[in-house]
Amino acid sequence: MELTIKSLSKTYKNGVKALDNVSLTIPRGMYGLLGPNGAGKSTLMRTLATLQEPDSGTVSLGEIDVLKQKDEVRRRLGYLPQEFGVYPRISAQDMLSHLALLKGITNSRERKQVVGAMLQRCNLYDVRKKALTGFSGGMRQRFGIAQALIGNPQLLIVDEPTAGLDPGERNRFYNLLAEVGEQVIVILSTHIVEDVMDLCTNMAIIHEGKVLYQGGPQAAISELNGRIWQRSIEKPELAHYEKTFRVVSNKLVGGRPFLHVFGEQPPGDGFLPSQPDLEDVFFTKIRNWN
């Protein structure tokens, strides 16, 4: 089964073009959707999750027309929105059980088992009777993951899932995803490149509604081989360097700016070759240098 997106466009009422002729083919496995904030990732995810109507284009999940046979999609869908809240005065267990019911686990004994298992997997079992409103950000996010995974989705859409998670939780979450990701389509949207690098076999970079890159992360990195250069500079020099070079990134290392610049030829000026990473790919793509 494959998710095929063809020429998807969406313009909001305020004139913002969120999706501009987006076409993607997403196979089974983990698929990373990388883009800066406001790139149109969430619009795309919501469209795939049957929550939004595009202006034009088609989406199909195997034989299913996602835009028309919404209920068919929903039966196979697990969705973790970027932002979500919870009903007040309700415990994690009750809420999860309710969502499991809505997803179709109508047998109450079975539901109880599934919910219990899922709570354990997401490390929420001990607090299952507590009100969700009292949860910390990480706990709430784990709950979100739990609800997305429940009911064996064949299409799992997770929008910025690791926001608010500490490193340990992030690891655990990736393990979970990787485990289910072998059998189903997992679309992971993020603006954190390591997430994609670590997890995904396929990825796309989206910026201002357009797909800038589609393919494997490693392939993208290889493209940059020999075109990324690095050096550290003094703070006052920054403006000068930004004017003179195509600066991909600038990080503080030991309190001094450390630059990655893009160039087909060695730029000289003390720049040394650098091993490109996905972040370099991301920034060169969205600046359209590559």
Binding site: Y12, K13, R46, A49, T50, L51, Q52, E53, K68, K70, D71, R74, R75, L77, Y79, L80, P81, F84, G85, V86, Y87, P88, R89, I90, D94, H98, L99, A100, L101, L102, K103, G104, I105, T106, N107, E110, Q113, V114, A117, Q120, R121, N123, L124, D126, V127, A131, G134, F135, S136, G138, M139, R142, G144, Q147, G151, N152, G168, E169, N171, R172
Partner: protein, 1208 residues
């Protein structure tokens, strides 16, 4: 510093739209109230000028109740804005003093809270210049009244409210708690009002009212129209104290809030859950849990049930719902338990229909609030809680989302209803009333009312589903409800087919249940439920799901959803809706008629315009009638055949006879030797021309047949007199001779609208009148008639007609009765039929009968007793009783009155039959009403006034006097004091609301009940006290002897007043003028009352009193006149336990001729109270200050001189 914070706060609000919207709303409301008759805010305007100082101040005293929730918004935000916006960390770390911060915010919020209240002034000021207002009802702009209204009411009320809300906000830091507290404040205010309703606590209640409203009404309670138009209250008397008390209370509350306020962040209320996730991760990872692969199903029932459960539990656990439900019950149950008074401080037995009415009156406002509020909450719940993306992406059909929420809403309503139901039953049990009609409760609340609430809920869901935001949804819903309530009348649309959720107004009676209304109600309810079904389908189609920012997308979604089962369901629903509508249309508009309210008024106006010219035209008179009446209770139909003798009483021949016809019946008239010359089928007026004129004294016999035409069902019941059990109609459904002025439009504004001049008052009183006294004030072109009736009804019912029962038989499965009047009587009587129980007794050969519903046996013995005691007193003191029976007959509560017909007295099930008179101190209302109606057997049915001013003095005032005497004999003089206090109070209040002219008793108008009943009681009782009961009765006997059953000319009020005058001794002759010819009002006051113990153990009592006497004109302008009156002074002992009044220790009639006087007298024991006119016999503007508590002076007085010195 605090000033700067206050100014900042004020500027902050002045820039927001909220203040101005609130100001606009209040302004519009008041504008509507003063410029249109359709809008009422805090009571009607009566006949004061529309911008009278009284009106302005009354609005200002009331408006704080309306702006309370608005103030909550301002105050709450001022108090906790920094916490809810998390700016407190910035603000509270500045070197700001707590007092400056709090006081500044508080003063600012108080100031802003006053702004919406100013809408009162804006509304009134603007309305004056509207083209449609009647300039005669508007006076000059009284700026002082506006300013005083703001200073006395608006500002202090805003201050107090703000203080309380500020304290709550500071302590709770939660918006919902603040709003709930505001609602509780409103409810508490309502309850306090109900608790202090009893007249005894008036002054205390006035002080305890935080808004000063009751103090205001206490100060102005006896104001006349002219006073209301010119005077305004400042910080006076009781009001000053009230304001001081509550401003003080506000300060205290604020101080308390200040002492509790802290800049520190409080621990958040929701308990944080300890996150053990990290610990668990750091530890060895848990063994992987085997993934269960659950079976997914599409079964919908569990999804529906699960969704419902989660919504229902979520909503009913919310604090707001619990509080509003509790508040509504606090408003509802005590009102049932306390029993609204029925008159004279009496209570009503908690019969179920009456409890139901109370539940509706006290609970349903809250229910509508809950529906309005929670429909929005439920529709927007997922989006508000940001659960929408998760929930919307699950495979749950939209109809489950809708129906589970709708069920939640309706069950929330039912929960409140059920709680009220249980409360109602508990109250019934507590009152020892054990006829629990559980079925009736369930049907009326959970079926009849709940189906209307369901319609409201569906509509609200529909609006919210389409609305782009929650607040717009609320706005549109409220606008729709308001339009639906107020729009149709002005549009002249009466049919319930277009008024959303419109059904006929059902009156439940213990006698007929809801039988007459059942068909129409059921069909209309089905019609609207089907409509709501369609609306619900539409709501499902447009149910918000996901993030749709464009209509096109939603329309596409709707089109996608509308398939298969939905199409057939819609078609089915549409078909059922259309055919139900068609069936209703056929029944209400084809078989029957729907007439718009304006059309009815226009017909009345046209009737007057076309036929008023014949009002004075001489007509033949009815001399006798023989009826053959068939009553068919099951089908609510009757056939009335009459054979009527008409005679020419005049010296000239008569050419024509005119009839006014009842539009609800089909009438055929047959007059031998006469032909129909005009038949107005629209205005129901007929003129017959005699072929040969009716000669003087010639009598002819005419026939008529009157048939009801109840078929199918009507939009609203037109003939409520015909019911399945409890038929009750008058002879006036038959053709009435001549023009009927009762059919005219009465409301002065309506009359103006149709270009009619002011309604005729009664003709002026004449002495020695002949020609103008040929008609009684009841009209009808008849004098004393003989009536004979054969009336038949279904086999299980008893039918009653005037007179003695001659025979009774069965025929064709129906019951027949023949009645005949024992003595000629007025042509004014009724016929009834119902399944009656009959209580029978005899009094000196006269049959006493009470016909009652078997469910209402409680007061029948009291009625019997009153019948007997009345006959005792009246036959002894007035003259003989000419009927062989006296009957009281219960009729259903479609009307609430008791009325006297010859020998029969119909009495509504809603009054006396369910009166609850169990405390020894109660005024026996049932006894009194029966005595009053029995009094009419002499005063109306023997002596009837000519159609002229003062006519009702001869009937209503005399019936009141008669009843007073019978009551005094039965219950003693103390009860009379209590009764007369109510009468006096009613008179004094009502005269302030008189729309036209207050008349003296001698020339009272027939519709001035507050004069002929209330003032009449007080005046006649006073006269009796002054000249003695025997002297009054001698006069009455003389009037009876002269005028009982006399042929025209009929007597006028002079006949009575002259007779009383004859019996009045010379030195009291002034009374006749004061009491009957003028409007005389006293202002007696005891300034000081003190007592000093004498050596012999007795007490010297000294009184300082003030006496003013006024004569009032028709508009209430008073002129002081010199006092030259015999007035009592007296002293009372402390009342014994459970007694209202103490023994009279001293009573002396004094001739008072000056305003200030001082008296000293001796009593045997220490009096508690003493004063002038201590029994409040005189009409006094403020009867309460006639007596004063006696202060005991220390020391022993030797003689008078010393006591006098001690006072000076």
């Amino acid at each position: 510093m605090f000033l700067r914070i206050a100014l900042f706060e004020i500027r902050f609000w002045l820039r927001s739209w909220m203040v101005w919207i609130f100001l606009f709303i209040i302004g519009l409301l008041i504008f509507g109230a003063v410029s249109s008759d359709n809008v009422q805010v805090g009571g009607s305007l009566s006949n004061t000028l529309h911008n009278a100082p009284f009106v302005i101040q009354n609005f200002y005293s009331f408006i704080a109740l309306l702006t309370l929730l608005m103030s909550t918004a301002f105050v709450n935000s001022a108090a906790i804005r920094d916490f809810s916006h998390n700016t407190y960390q910035i603000i509270f770390t500045t070197p700001l003093r707590r007092i400056d911060f709090l006081l500044g915010r508080f003063i600012g919020a108080t100031f802003v809270s006053v702004i919406p209240m100013l809408g009162v002034s804006f509304g009134i000021l603007v309305a004056k210049y509207m083209p449609w207002v009647d300039p005669e009802r508007w006076g000059r702009v009284d700026w002082a009244a506006h300013l005083k209204g703001i200073a006395v009411f608006a500002v202090p009320n805003a201050f107090f409210v703000a203080a309380v809300l500020f304290a709550i906000a500071v302590l709770a830091r939660n918006e919902i708690v603040s709003f709930v507290a505001a609602l509780l404040l409103l409810t508490g205010y309502g309850i306090a009002g109900a608790l202090t309703q009893d007249i005894q606590h008036e002054q205390l209640a006035a002080l305890l009212d935080p808004f000063g409203r009751r103090a205001f009404s206490f100060l102005t309670r006896y104001w006349t129209v002219s006073e209301k138009n010119t005077l305004s209250v400042g910080f006076d008397g009781l009001l000053l104290w009230n304001r001081l008390i509550w401003i003080g209370a506000g300060c205290l509350v604020f101080a308390a809030a200040y002492s509790r306020f802290s800049f520190a962040e409080r621990r958040t209320k929701t308990k944080a859950v300890l996150d053990d996730g990290l610990q668990a991760l750091l530890a060895e990872p848990a063994p992987p849990v085997t993934l269960i692969r659950p079976q997914l199903h599409d079964s919908l029932w569990p999804k529906f049930w699960g969704s419902f459960k989660i919504h229902f539990l979520g909503m009913t656990r919310s604090t707001f719902f619990i509080v509003i439900a509790v508040a509504s019950l606090l408003n509802c149950i005590p009102s049932i338990a306390l029993n609204a008074t029925e008159g004279y401080g009496n209570h009503t037995l908690p019969v179920t229909y009456w409890v139901l009415d109370l539940i509706r009156g006290t609970l349903y406002l809250f229910v509508v609030i809950v529906i309005t509020y929670y429909a929005g909450v439920l529709v927007w719940k997922d989006r508000d809680e940001r659960m929408d993306e998760i929930a919307d992406s699950t495979p749950t059909p939209e109809w489950i989302s809708l129906s589970s929420r709708l069920l939640t809403l309706i069950l929330m309503v039912m929960l409140m209803q059920t709680a009220a139901l249980l409360g109602g039953i508990a109250v019934q049990a507590w009152h020892g009333y054990h006829r629990y009609q559980i079925g009736l409760y369930l049907y009326e609340l959970l079926i009849r009312d709940a189906s209307a609430f369901l319609c409201l809920g569906v509509l609200a869901f529909f609006i919210h589903a389409l609305s782009p935001n929650k607040y717009l949804g609320y706005f549109f819903y409220i606008v729709f409800l308001a339009g639906n309530t107020f729009m149709w009348g002005p549009l002249n649309v009466a049919t319930n087919l277009v008024q959303f959720a419109g059904t006929p107004n059902v009156v439940h009676s213990d006698m007929f249940g809801d039988a007459p209304y059942r068909a129409a109600w059921s069909w209309y309810t089905l019609y609207w439920l089907l409509f709501c079904g369609l609306l619900a389908i539409l709501t499902v189609m447009f149910w918000p799901r996901g993030k749709q920012d464009r209509w096109a997308g939603r329309r596409r979604n709707a089109a996608q959803r509308f398939h298969g089962g939905w199409v057939s369901a819609t078609l089915l629903c549409l078909l059922a809706f259309a055919s139900t509508g068609g069936w209703i249309w056929y029944n209400t508009a084809v078989v029957n008629r729907v007439v718009g309210p304006k059309t009815l008024q226009r017909r009345q106006a046209e009737y007057e315009k076309a036929y008023k010219q014949y009002e004075k035209k001489p007509q033949p008179r009815v001399r006798s009638v023989k009826y053959a009446i068939e009553v068919y209770p099951e089908s609510r139909n009757i056939v009335m055949r009459g054979e009527q003798a008409i005679q020419n009483p005049l010296a000239q021949p008569l050419e024509e006879i005119h009839f006014t016809i009842d539009p609800n019946y089909v009438t055929e008239i047959e007059i031998p030797g006469a032909s129909l010359s005009k038949d107005d089928q629209k205005l129901y007026y007929r003129i017959y021309k005699f072929d040969s004129p009716l000669q003087p004294n010639e009598t002819r016999t005419m026939h008529f047949t009157v048939k009801s035409r109840n078929r199918g069902f009507e939009n609203d019941l037109s003939t409520v007199e015909l019911v399945q059990n409890g038929t009750f109609f008058n002879n006036t459904i038959g053709p009435i001779v001549g023009y009927q002025s009762q059919r005219q439009l009465a409301d002065p504004n309506d009359r103006k609208k149709f270009g009619l001049k002011e309604i005729d008052r009664m003709p002026p009183l004449e002495r020695n009148c002949t020609d103008n006294c040929r008609e009684t004030y009841l009209g009808g072109h008849s004098d004393w008639v003989d009536v004979q009736t054969v009336i038949s009804t279904s086999a299980d019912q008893v039918a009653i007609a005037p007179g003695s029962l001659l025979r009774e038989w069965q025929e064709n499965g129906r019951r027949f009765f023949e009645y005949k009047l024992d003595h000629q009587s007025l042509n004014f009587y009724s016929f009834m039929s119902a399944r009656y129980e009959v209580a029978r007794e005899e009094w000196n050969g006269i049959k006493l009968e009470v016909y009652y519903d078997r469910q209402h046996p409680w007061n029948v013995p009291r009625m019997m007793n009153s019948l007997k005691k009345s006959l005792d007193y009246y036959t002894k003191n007035f003259g003989p009783y000419f009927h062989k029976e006296a009957r009281i007959i219960e009729f259903p509560r479609v009307a609430r009155f008791a009325q006297a017909f010859p020998g029969t007295m119909p009495y509504s099930e809603a009054i006396g039959f369910i009166a609850n008179i169990n405390k020894p101190d109660d005024i026996d209302f049932v006894f009194y009403v029966v005595a009053h109606e029995m009094g009419h057997q002499w005063w109306a049915h023997q002596v009837i006034g000519a159609n002229m001013e003062g006519a009702t003095l001869l009937s209503e005032t005399m019936a009141q006097y008669s009843a007073l005497m019978v009551m005094e004999k039965e219950y003693g003089r103390d009860t009379m004091r209590k009764f007369l206090k109510y009468e006096m109070d009613n008179y004094l209040r009502s005269r302030g609301a008189e729309r036209l002219k207050e008349r003296p008793l001698l020339t009272v108008e027939a519709n001035q009940g507050y004069i002929h009943y209330r003032k009449g009681s007080v005046v006649l009782y006073y006269l009796k006290e002054m000249i003695g009961e025997e002297a009054v009765n001698r006069a009455l006997r003389k009037v009876i002897a002269q005028y009982a059953y006399a042929q025209p000319p009929y007597p006028t009020s002079y006949a009575l007043v002259d007779a009383l005058k004859e019996q009045t001794p010379a030195d009291l002759q002034y009374l006749i003028k004061d009491l009957f010819e003028d409007i005389t009002i006293f202002s007696n006051r005891t300034l000081d009352a003190s007592a000093q113990k004498r050596a012999d153990g007795k007490y010297d009592v000294t009184l300082k009193v003030e006496t003013h006497k006024y004569k009032a004109d028709a508009k209430g302008n008073e002129t002081e006149v010199p006092v030259n009156d015999y007035i009592d002074i007296g002293a009372f002992a402390r009342p014994a336990k459970n007694k209202k009044y103490g023994d009279t220790l001293y009573r002396q009639r004094i001739h008072i001729t000056q305003k200030d006087s001082q008296f000293t007298f001796v009593t045997d024991s220490l009096p508690e109270k003493a004063g002038v006119d201590p029994f409040a016999l005189l009409i006094d503007r403020v009867p309460d200050d006639n007596t004063k508590n006696v202060t005991l002076l220390s020391g022993t007085s030797v003689g008078k001189n010393q006591a006098a010195r001690a006072i000076q």
